[in-house]
Amino acid sequence: MGHTLLQKVWDLHTVRTLPTGQTQLFIGLHLVHEVTSPQAFDALRARGWKVARPDRTFATVDHIIPTRERTRPFVDVLAEDMIAALERNCRDFGVRLAGLDDDRQGIVHVIGPELGLTQPGLTLACGDSHTSTHGAFGAVAFGVGTSQVRDVLASQCLALEPMKVRRIRVTGMLPSGVYAKDVILTIINRLGVGGGVGYAYEYAGDTIERMSMDERMTICNMSIEGGARVGYVNPDQTTFDYIKGRPFAPAGDAFDRARAWWTSMASDRDARYDDDVVIRAEELTPVVTWGVNPGQSVPVVGRVPSGQEPAVAEARAYMGFNGGEAIAGMRVDVAFVGSCTNSRLSDLREAARIVSGRRVAPHVKALVVPGSASVKRAAGCSMCLGMNPDKLEGSQVCASSSNRNFKGRQGSPTGRTLLMSPAMVAAAAIAGEVTDVRTMITQASGTRSLKPEA
């Protein structure tokens, strides 16, 4: 009987079984950012501990970065405090930092892969739930809280419970205008926002195998929205081609040795899974969320559910929708392409392709915030969570390429978020309302096929 990637990585990184029965797991890479680390560094100071492995630790700033005015000190004193604290902590503890003026700076889940820090077969931790993104490379990546950040800083280890593995096989060709974002929103809708608790999700099947690394990252990123703390794709040639030549990637002979090891870490053909799910790509359509969690979505040709269950009725009331209303045609006030789910160059290109030759509707405020400085200056989380000045106002409706439509998520306690793919956001920006991007693709004759690149 073969093993899954998760089992192999887990076994190899196990230090010991703790008296509580948990596994002490070595963490191969710890990514640190300004929001979830200051209290952890302070805890180390208070106890006189060092950072155990600065060589396996890398920090950047992202959540609080203003999109517009970036001169220091920031006008916003709280933001300035947080950035200054991270700079001081990295200096005091000898941790590498891609700070504000570093051209490597960006959303931690965008730059880890870009720099070649994220690699197959390693364990990775970061004080952010979307750490699952790094699973796209065949890493086992955990989002953790601040006390666990402290644990990793001090010991390079986490105390964890073993998890089960659910394989989700996506098979067939994705129709034009249907993207990785639609695949993961569909998975979350089918399996539920709590369906993945206790599981790691292994995304497999020919559709996933044909996807670019950017698309795989979009899928793994949202594992946590389905309750799965870990999501991953087995490493393959696409993975190796992406990593090759990046600043922290092994080079020369070392790269060949690395590739052999990475390949050996992929799930075996006869691996046993605790659960198996199949999704047919041909059946998928562009998806839009109508509610207040990422599982509450419908195809763009669908309608807001009219059920009277409390969760459905409450979400509908918050969003101001009527049951049975078509989702297409919903007016939007803001269009946001950004976040660690969809702010990579390919996402921006896809959105640009839709916008090309058209104009954003006059009433729509459109905002594009790249994920990293290498994508463009002014990179950060921005309107994904409204910690910087980019926020929704009042009850504005936002078409967003981010990952969470929770109440108040985008900075206004009554703001409303509709999650969709970057291309769908672009379509909504132009039409001023939720629109089936597929109609714009057929109109724009001569543009390149929108099928995922092989």
Binding site: T20, F26, D42, V144, S147, D151, V193, A258, M387, F406
Partner: protein
């Protein structure tokens, strides 16, 4: 510190899938300490908060009948979403010493455990009964025995569950993990040495 029992009055917070953005809005993550977070729990949906145009029903956290509660009763998938430890930190600082619910998100569960805030589960119907009981009689004292796996409230008893590792950590006082992880650091080095990527292949 060993935690074997939790006892006190409770606050019922109804609803499935309550995410950590609701428990602790992101703007309160703009600080380098956890101090004062207890003042901002569920702020956006509470009376008198920025959410002036919200439904007028009184929020459980504003209801004086539940003042002083040390236990929180919740429904399904509580604490989903963001990994912010600020959510359990806020609850702990507000005086909560235990959460009982139908189920919890994994990250929230772990973040709570590591600060000594046990999250225990009970069956759907038992949670319903507990909530109804507390709503009728807010001064009812609930007693959770982590070792026996029981929850008692004046004449009503139900079973509670907690993963064995979490129970052991709480009752032996090993829930603050750093010391435990540093305990045999030589073994950590041994594992690092067998990982090809640590040495650059």
């Amino acid at each position: 510190m060993r935690i074997t029992h939790i006892e006190g009055t409770a606050l019922p917070m109804r609803g499935d899938d309550i995410d950590t953005d609701r428990i602790m809005p992101a703007r309160y993550l703009r600080a380098v300490t956890f101090d004062g977070l207890e003042r901002h729990l569920f702020e956006d949906e509470r009376t008198g908060s920025a959410a002036g145009d919200k439904a007028s029903a009184q929020h459980a956290f504003d209801n004086p009948r539940y003042a002083g509660a040390s236990m929180l009763i919740v429904n399904r998938n509580f604490g989903c979403g963001s990994s912010r430890e600020h959510a359990p930190q806020g609850l702990y600082r507000a005086g909560f010493r235990g959460v009982i619910g139908e189920s919890f998100s994994e990250i929230f569960f772990g973040n709570s455990l590591i600060i000594g805030l046990p999250c225990v589960t009970a069956a759907h119907d038992d949670i319903r009964r507990l909530m109804e009981r507390v709503e009728k009689q807010p001064d009812a004292r609930i007693r959770i025995d982590l070792q026996a796996g029981t929850c008692e409230v004046e004449g009503f008893t139900c079973a509670i569950a907690l993963p064995a590792h979490a129970r052991d950590a709480l009752v032996t006082g090993a829930w603050d993990t750093t010391g435990l992880l540093l305990d045999r650091y030589a073994e950590v080095d041994r594992v690092a040495a067998r990982l090809p990527y640590v040495a650059g292949f």
